[in-house]
Amino acid sequence: MSRVVVDVVLKPEISDPQGQAVLGALGRLGHRGVTSVRQGKHFVLEVDGDPDEAELREIAETLLANPVIEDVELHLSTD
């Protein structure tokens, strides 16, 4: 069995009000060292047998992310 982690992040040119709000909350709490926050999604998939990387990349890029506004990063690890 293997584990695949997919991180989905907004493309840099798309604004991120959730990250903005977190940054605002940090400022009010006195954590001034943080200068930027972006929020994305984190998926952990478990795959039976040998993972087919091409298939997983397709899943990540077409279903887990919306390519109009999001980029993906794929991390594979087999136990």
Binding site: Q20, A21, G24, A25
Partner: protein, 779 residues
């Protein structure tokens, strides 16, 4: 999961720890002296002794878990039962099709339609995890309504928080509101009203009460009963996980001290999408007549559902726990029985209908499993891995729990509190002071515009919402051809109840009744949620008993049945009990919703009339609380006769189309009502106040409403016929509320009224963290 192997029994000897063993009925009989952690589970010595007596042996671990949860205050009503009987003793009502004791009462609203409604608390979970606590509160009450065979058609929420500017309120409130909205919106249920109030006494104990109303045809009413030997018990909906069984983990930890048991989450996590599918599947199942009995899984999960179904039926029941679909394979049998995983239901299905039942579930992607059957005999038995772990008389679990007559005493401070009359407070004199008091009341968190909250709720879905917040009552059309509909209001003034719980409960009934009546509906039935402190405090118990007595007497006088409700005890911050709001819901019926009366003024040049009589009544008023931080004296004098007369008048006025708006007077008196009616559509008025302006503006005397009309003479005549006093206040129109030398522009009123909540909670930064990772409520 840290624990990979788990035991679920409780002997203290070392051997048992090393070799964990299932605690079966046989083992319990063979080892009568094993120590059991009943105290940790909240059972008293005599309660445990009683269980042993019922069973003629010690309970198994699973049985102990079942009894302990079912005999808890929450499930057994052991402190409140003796008092709640007063509701059952009310004279029978023709409108009542199903009374107290079922999941929710059912009322005949005419044309073959039946309506069921109920309000329930989810206070403590909402403090621990505001979003999920509130969300699952909505989910739970919706399933109660669904259980009756009804389609849920609307929800309401009654909320209390600590001081609005307290830091913890900024944690709890946004999460609760997002949770109520997140769940209800996703179910497609319009939110048609509720309450939002603040007081220091709720700082460590917010109140989250949710109401759901459903509608069905008379023939579709279903009851929670397991009848018919050989009928199947079907569990359907979500898988069972470790939700809400924190307390029962004690059973595991007893013997698992090496590395400690996996901590079971006490919070329940909601999945409104699954519930939406459950609703559609259930309604299809009921419509196709595929069930003989149905029950939701709420508090105490399967223990409650199976024992209640069996207890209400004629025979016994057998359940095979191995058949329960699990989300977490490490759950012990006791935990499976206790789990409060959400979005589950239990049905009793005739064998030849099981296939059809399962097919409906498949179509809606709802998981379903046959987990047992109705048996002859009178035992509830449960097996696990082929061994018998539960063998009990179900009535003793579900309906014959302990009943207490707890000691009661009138609060020692009550005389002093009642003697501390607000007449000693400096009253505003002259236009400047009156203006300041007016603005203070309408801009206080209790009096301010609630849109910041209610905009987070869908009011339009299903397309039948005729009136919703900020109207006095929510009004929903139930038949598009005949225009029949219902009205609902929820009210729970806690200050009045603190000053005098007997009268306070009645005043809340009186207010909810009035809210429904001013919309033009005929009040028909009552539900309630009684939020109080610890029943082990005699003074709290007295408050509770007085409130129940008051509500029962009030209902008797108004001729309304109590169809059900909920009791929430142990609401306190530290040792200090909350000011207890008996939250009262009144249901009314509109023969034609097109005749409903809204609260806002729309047209210029109409007469503004005050109906009812104003006395100098400021005890427990919003003015005293907001301007002076004062709570003392006596609440307003109750007058249900006047309330009923006003109600009758409003029904006539609405039916004859004689009034264009009506707004009841309650918290904040006339000042609050005028502000809301004027700001609704931005229409002012030129008015003259009768008598002393301070009393006229801020008194909270009952049975009053402001109406606007194009035909003042006709309203006057109709009012005279039923003995309702009428005072002409003036005429609508203009950009201000102009009362002689006291003039407030709508602009300044709006600024004061609408800024409060956004300023406190409106920044997106406050919203951070209110919505957990797994549940993004959207669309």
């Amino acid at each position: 999961m840290t624990a990979t192997h788990r035991v679920d029994d409780g002997p203290a000897d070392h051997a048992a720890r090393v070799l964990p063993q299932l605690d079966t009925v046989d083992r319990a009989a063979a080892r009568p002296d094993d120590e059991q952690p009943f105290a940790e589970l909240g059972l008293k010595d005599d309660e445990y002794a009683r269980i042993r007596e019922i069973l003629g042996r010690r309970p198994t671990t699973a049985e102990l878990a079942m009894y302990s949860v079912m005999w808890s205050e929450h499930c057994s009503y052991k402190s409140s039962k003796v008092h709640l009987r007063r509701f059952g003793d009310l004279p029978p009502s023709d409108a009542l099709l199903v009374g107290i004791g079922e999941n929710a009462g059912v009322v005949d609203v005419g044309d073959g339609y039946a309506v069921t409604f109920k309000v329930e608390s989810h206070n403590h979970p909402s403090y621990v995890e505001p979003y999920q606590g509130a969300a699952t509160g909505v989910g739970g009450i919706v399933r109660d309504i669904l259980t009756m065979g009804a389609r849920p058609i609307a929800v309401m929420d009654s909320l209390r928080f600590g001081r609005a500017d307290a830091p913890d309120t900024a944690r709890v409130l946004p999460g609760v509101v997002a949770g109520v909205g997140g769940y209800g919106n996703c179910l497609g249920l319009p939110n048609i009203g509720g309450e939002l109030l603040f007081d220091d006494c709720y700082a460590g104990n917010p109140l989250v009460n949710a109401l759901c109303v459903g509608v069905m045809r008379h023939e579709d009413v279903r009851l929670a009963k397991a009848e018919g030997v050989g009928n199947k018990v079907v569990l359907f909906g979500a898988r069972t996980g470790g939700d809400g069984i924190g307390g029962v983990s004690v059973l595991a930890s007893e013997t698992f001290d090496a590395e400690g048991p996996a901590k079971r989450p006490a919070v329940q996590v909601g999945d409104p999408f699954t519930e939406k599918l459950l609703i559609e599947a259930c309604l299809e199942i009921v419509a196709a007549d595929l069930v003989t009995g149905i029950q939701d899984l709420g508090g105490a999960g399967l223990s409650c559902a199976t024992s209640e179904l069996a207890s209400a039926g004629t025979g016994g029941m057998h359940v095979d726990l191995d058949a329960v679909p699990l989300r977490d394979s490490t759950l012990t049998p006791a935990e499976i029985l206790m789990s409060e995983s959400q979005e589950r239901m239990c049905a009793i299905v005739e064998p030849d209908k099981v296939d059809a039942f399962l097919a409906v579930c498949r179509r809606w992607d709802v998981l379903a499993a046959v987990i047992g059957e109705v048996t002859d005999g009178d035992r509830l038995t449960v097996d696990w891995h082929g061994e018998r772990i539960v063998d009990v008389p179900p009535r003793t679990v579900a309906h014959e729990g302990p009943v207490y007559e707890r000691p009661m005493s009138r609060p020692a401070d009550l005389d002093a509190l009642q003697a501390d009359d607000p007449s000693r407070l400096p009253a505003p004199a002259g236009p400047d002071e009156l203006r300041a008091a007016w603005l203070a009341v309408v801009s206080s968190p209790d009096g301010a515009d609630k849109s910041w909250v209610t905009e987070q709720y869908d009011r339009y879905v299903r397309g039948n919402t005729v009136l919703a917040q900020p109207e006095d009552a929510g009004v929903v059309r139930i038949d598009e051809d005949s225009h029949r509909g219902i009205a609902l209001a929820l009210d729970g003034n806690a200050r009045f109840a603190r000053l005098d719980p007997y009268t306070g409960a009645q005043l809340n009934l009186s207010e909810a009744y009035r809210n429904v009546a001013v919309s033009g509906a005929v009040p028909l039935a009552v539900t309630n949620c009684l939020n109080f402190g610890s029943p082990e405090e005699p003074e709290v118990m007295w408050q509770f008993a007085e409130a129940v007595r008051g509500l029962a007497d009030g209902c008797r006088e108004l001729g309304l049945p109590v169809t059900g409700g909920n009791v929430s005890l142990y609401n306190q911050t530290g040792d200090v009990p909350i000011n207890p709001p008996p939250v009262i819901g009144v249901l009314g019926v509109h023969a034609d919703v097109r005749r409903r009366v809204p609260t806002g003024w729309r047209a210029d040049g109409e007469s503004v009339l005050l109906l009812g009589e104003t006395r100098g009544e400021l005890g427990g008023s919003a003015w005293a609380a907001v301007v002076h931080g004062h709570l003392g004296g006596r609440p307003p004098v109750l007058d249900l006769g006047a309330e009923r007369a006003l109600g009758e008048l409003m029904v006539t006025l609405a039916a004859d189309g004689l009034v264009s708006s009506a707004h009841d007077l309650a918290d904040g008196g006339l000042a609050q009502a005028l502000t809301e009616s004027a700001l609704r559509y931005g229409v002012g008025a030129t008015l003259a106040l009768p008598g002393d302006p301070f009393t006229a503006l801020f008194s909270e005397s009952v049975a009053r409403a402001v109406v606007t009309t194009a035909d003042a003479a006709a309203v006057r005549a109709a009012a005279e016929r039923v003995g309702v006093p009428v005072t002409e206040l003036g005429t609508t129109g203009g950009p201000a509320l102009a009362l002689g030398d006291l003039e407030l522009s709508l602009e300044e009123l709006r600024a004061a009224w609408s800024a409060t909540l956004p300023a406190l909670f409106g920044s997106p930064a406050v919203a951070v963290g209110t919505v957990p990772a797994g549940t993004v409520p959207t669309s």
